[in-house]
Symmetry: C2
């Protein structure tokens, strides 16, 4: 997209410039006089306000090279007899099949019709007209040019439209593979240039605009380009021109697009009463086709954007619910602060370090806060006993692992399955001396071994009502001592490798 | 899509049939002899294996009607002088602008070139060629036909391709507005016919196939058409031909499509290791364009399908987490069974009945299980006291409403905000004698008033360890008595109106 497209007031000069782009006419003929006469006869000829420019080739080989170099030749006036009696004819399948140029109009002009009988030639070769050179008076040449350029123009318009739709579909498919709302929204803004003006100078291919989404009743910028690139998180109402506000306020459910002086707006209000908005500053479609492509793209993109936003909101609210659930349980056992958040983040670092996929690591991070869920079933008298537990009480306390598993394991949802595994295994020990099942080594799930380390790391390094926080050196010493005893030795090595990063989690989520 | 497209072995007869569709040539001329001579000259003419069929009009008015009736006329051979000296010329803008037919090739044939000078006519009218009748020998007429039909064929192919892409984008946008995975998947299968063969007999427009999605490691049918319509929930591996299994097993991340003997397969394996599959039995693309459109559509649709599946899985797991959370709290207070599920469903019925939107009603249903979340903060001694509570204990018990609110209200997520409101308000009374805030009437949130009724309805009509279940008549009597006292009178009226439906919830979710 060029700057003229962005700045509507420069559009006139752009339109003028556009009309100056000439139609390329290729003359392939070994008779120099034919070149001269043709140029003369078509002097000052214009079609659709655009002049002609001539390319000249004197052999079939030259002609083919020229078309290869100029795939946008509109019309090729082609002699038959050149290097050989049928050099011109042989060019035709080369253009159509080898160069795959089906758009250029090819008109055969022969001086020796006997060499190339009209009826067979026109049937056998994919040409657009057949003329004897003697037929081609100035008037007939004009008619021929109109006829061919009209077809070429129509075909090219359809092809441009088709390519635009192809680009939209490609963009649509690519955008839908994005996982983050911000990436998606930036993608929409970046694709618009490519869709409307794929061939133009990349330097100008900057579309200034914002993508916004309604969050908690406030239309918030989620992506911006150009002057808006630093406006993420701002309210859209502070950024948009006044003309936009009435439009936004008025729209009902569905998709709405409008060209205003200040630019192009489109909105999608889903049945769930969410609103997504795209504003492209100063953007004006140059013609009906661009307008159509813009609408088709924006409608498709905004619908997908809305879906991704809903999914993101669900992910966020699921995460919050899990933390609330975990916090509620912690609160009962008088543990406070951000323990769960830290356990989740430390588990994530260890999961990634141990080579799990992003997806698996995220699952462990999301499910880790459920590790002590079973404590909800432990009576106050045991859970909050001020002194040490007697053997019976200790046996009751240990049931929280199984209780947690029982609550979660019947689900087939990945986060809950992982949570069940973590709840069950997070008190198992590498040497088999843990509970509830006394599993050892890799019989313990990796998620369980990871959260065991994260849980102990954070418990030791934090202050609790019954103990002070250990120093990081003391914690490190314990893990080195318990490497291969309490804890998976490989995971302890990964913990040591990433010690600073993990210790830093405490600073990011301090106790409140 | 016709049956020939579905049953590949019948494709040959189809191909043959396809080639028989003639090109429509319209002759508009007031001289009957011109009709006869033209037909004679073009007898047995074929282009691309398809014959010609002639339409005859003897005036501009008739000609225009004919084009209106046959928008698929390929070529119009148009006389100039008919009803008036320029009747033929006047037809041109009517065809192009009024009928918006830019595809038909128009060739002017004049017997009196003086009436219609070539150079101005060809420039001023959107025609594709200009001929004097005397020029049109049999050979020249053949050349003209080839020239025009080639252009028409090329333009039509591009236009069909463009329309196919438009339909895909429309389908893509529409599919993305679907909320349910099953609807979406059925939509994909239904759209394929429309995309490949929009004009063909609806009776044949049945595409047999399945859409499947990986759930818990098992590729399960989510939608089926034709013989597969009753296979929802089945494992895909039991339905597909053997040739498919190797293909499915081999695919890596990304989109893959393949034409096998048994039909068309496409797969999308997302980065999250989920797999979506589309199988279209016996479907074979008839040409390169159909193949391309099919791929573009399937890729786009499967990507969107994957996103919707992820969202649905999130919705389901969020719902499960909320129930597990609620169940955990209930379990502590020794309430058992499906109380929460019933409260959620009864609340939903009342929310819909009271005129809330689907979205709002669903929010209340999803959040209702959180109403007693604050009980997690109530000590065992109070929560599970065998006898009646003394005033101090009662005061502690009542704090559960505020506790629940405190846990949830800091979130900006709709489900948690609604949950906070319900937790806070579900023990308020219409007459202001409830707790924690003694609100009255519509000062109590509607969600709170609704769940208060649902909670009491289910508590009374269920057996608890300390009481038997009340009969439905006893429950009804209580609500009638408390109409306008404990409960919102309008909501009690709605409860009475929907009594049977609500009582039925007990049968659907019996205590375990």
């Amino acid at each position: 997209m060029s700057d003229e497209l962005i700045f509507a007031d420069e559009q006139d000069s752009r339109a003028e410039q556009q009309t100056q782009i000439p139609w390329k006419i290729l003359i392939v003929d070994d008779d120099e006089e034919v070149h001269t006469i043709t140029k003369l006869a078509l002097r000052n000829f214009q079609f659709d306000g655009r002049p002609l420019v001539f390319l000249h080739s004197h052999s079939a080989q030259e002609g083919l090279d020229m078309i290869r170099k100029h795939p946008d030749v509109a019309l090729c006036l082609l002699d038959v007899v050149m290097e050989s009696d049928h050099a011109g004819l042989d060019m035709v399948p080369k253009i159509r099949d080898e160069l795959r140029n089906t758009f250029v109009r090819i008109v055969l002009r022969t001086g020796q019709p006997g060499q190339a009988p009209e009826e067979t030639i026109i049937a056998d070769y994919d040409i657009n007209d057949y003329k004897e050179k003697t037929e081609l008076t100035r008037g007939k040449l004009h008619t021929l040019l109109y006829s061919c350029l009209r077809s070429y123009r129509d075909i090219l318009a359809l092809e441009r439209n088709r390519q635009g739709l192809e680009r939209i579909l490609l963009a649509s498919t690519q955008l839908q593979q994005k996982t983050f709302v911000q990436d998606f929204a930036r993608g929409i803004l970046e694709q618009i240039s490519a869709i409307l003006a794929p061939d133009e100078d990349a330097l100008y291919a900057q579309c200034e605009g914002v993508a916004a989404h309604e969050e908690s009743g406030r239309l918030t910028v989620v992506a911006g380009t150009g002057t808006y690139q630093h406006d993420i998180g701002k309210a859209v109402t502070d950024l948009l021109p006044d003309s936009a506000h009435a439009f936004i306020a008025g729209v009902e459910t569905g998709f709405h697009a409008q060209h205003l002086d200040s630019g192009y707006f489109c909105l999608y209000r889903s049945s769930e009463l969410h609103l997504s908005l795209l504003y492209l500053k100063g953007l004006t479609a140059r013609n009906a086709m661009e307008k159509h492509l813009l609408e088709v793209f924006c409608q498709n993109a905004l619908t997908a954007f809305e879906n991704l936003s809903l999914r993101t909101e669900l992910e966020d609210s699921q995460r919050e619910i899990v933390f609330i659930l975990g916090d509620a349980v912690e609160h009962r056992s008088r543990e406070t602060g951000q323990h769960l958040r830290r356990v989740a983040e430390i588990s994530y670092i260890l999961a990634k370090a141990s080579g799990l996929s992003q997806h698996q690591a995220v699952l462990i991070r999301e499910a880790a806060p459920l590790h002590d869920l079973g404590k909800i079933a432990i009576p106050d008298a045991v859970l909050n006993k001020p002194g040490p537990l007697d053997p019976d009480e200790w046996a009751i306390m240990q049931t929280h692992a199984q209780h947690g598993y029982d609550m979660l394991h019947q689900s087939d949802k990945p986060i809950l399955c992982t949570g069940a595994q973590i709840a069950l295994d997070h008190h198992e020990r590498w040497d088999g001396k843990g509970y509830p099942n006394g599993l050892a080594g890799t019989d313990i799930s990796l998620a369980g071994r990871i959260t065991a380390i994260a849980d102990v790391f954070d418990a030791l390094s934090s202050r609790r009502c019954y103990k002070d926080a250990w120093s990081l050196d003391q914690v490190k010493a314990l893990f080195q001592k318990e490497r291969g005893a309490h804890f998976d030795p490989d995971l302890v090595d990964l913990l040591m490798e990433r010690w600073d990063e993990i210790a830093d989690i405490k600073a990011q989520f301090p106790d409140r």
